[in-house]
Symmetry: none
Amino acid sequence: MDKRSPKHLYTMKDLTQRQKEILEFIEHHEWRNGFWPSIREIQEKFEFKSTNAVMGHLRALEKKDVLERIPGQARTFRIHRPDDGDSTQLPKEAHEVVDIPIVGAIAAGYPDRVEGAGEIGRLQVDIGSAGFSSQRRSFALQVRGDSMVDAEIYDGDRVVIEPRDAHDGDIVAALIDGETTLKRYIKKAGEPPYLKAENKFYPELYPVTELCVQGVAKAVVRNL
Amino acid sequence: MDKRSPKHLYTMKDLTQRQKEILEFIEHHEWRNGFWPSIREIQEKFEFKSTNAVMGHLRALEKKDVLERIPGQARTFRIHRPDDGDSTQLPKEAHEVVDIPIVGAIAAGYPDRVEGAGEIGRLQVDIGSAGFSSQRRSFALQVRGDSMVDAEIYDGDRVVIEPRDAHDGDIVAALIDGETTLKRYIKKAGEPPYLKAENKFYPELYPVTELCVQGVAKAVVRNL
DNA sequence: CTTGACAATGGACAAGCGTTCACCTAAACA
DNA sequence: TGTTTAGGTGAACGCTTGTCCATTGTCAAG
């Protein structure tokens, strides 16, 4: 039986440990890849030997109203988040950038992206009507060290990272020795990519194979 | 559906009209529903009578490097948005990020946020890192000139301004000669305050009396 | 002891969905 | 004149994927 207390609008903390893990993986997968996982991908991640194990959890999550799916259709998740802010397995030291409503007076009027395409200042997201946030991708990263001073990025700055594939010349957040640092991503045609520090006193080049590039830096933010 | 806007936000360099429509539908679908469309859903929307019509366009879009997909897998799109390198233009997704108007110059008083008049763009920052206390009234100012290079603020950067009274040592946005510029605010006890440029080649000091201080700079944002 | 949640196995089916082949039209080259 | 590029039809083929069946086991509550 469901023992949700009736005063709770959103109860999502009565999730099982396993269910939380499933939910987090689904969210994380979307966050990283931009699309939702398939049931068999979830199965693989948790090393289930049957897809039905996943199905059970999905059914439970749907019954507990934290998930929604389109029956019969592939990779069509929808997550209802009252936002718990619990432990997400983001990269360490990363402030998650999430669930911040749009400020300003432009909240009204739902922009149809197709039509308003050229008009800047009208393209606003209406989280209210969507009811969920489809992409929580970007996050901010605190810069440590001075390996990027030649790119005018200093110790203590914050960099907005967007997880995606890096191109040549991008500044990327990479995981080196358990710590995320910024480097410039160099990829010449026909050559293996490598990472380079933007500091003349740091001539090191880091081979990319053993690294985990977590995303591309989009902007620097420094408090004054 | 008309297209009065001269330039799209995409790099629709050589995209066909039809290809633009397809791309926009895909983006729009993701934006509305939270997941990507299937090929047959695209087909339906455009009333194609063969899925192969969609396939052709997808192949074209992939070849033109605005799209990416995982072969054989359902609803696994990835859109390469050209918001990498430059731009005062912003990505169309404003998900989960604070949205602050960018103003080039402020004639007098504070920028009129309501209508977006005078806006030359919008800035998206993660709120956690910037710590804007009263984001509702904050605005971003495009930096012109190099009068603040010694404070690591460069031409083209954006500065988030919070309207409030300045204290000694604050960097402020001040109205000089009809244009808003950044200066450091100096106020010693018993002396009248004045403004100072952070550039050793700009030794000027501006008396504060005839100026209008519009707010205090709280953060610098520079796109990479 | 029974009941019911929770968790998982194993196998199988059918619909969803991406992909391909053959073939067609029209415009733009050259 | 042929060739290329963009756009489209029609019909399959087969992998992907969601779904359902029966079955096993644990654990806490009634």
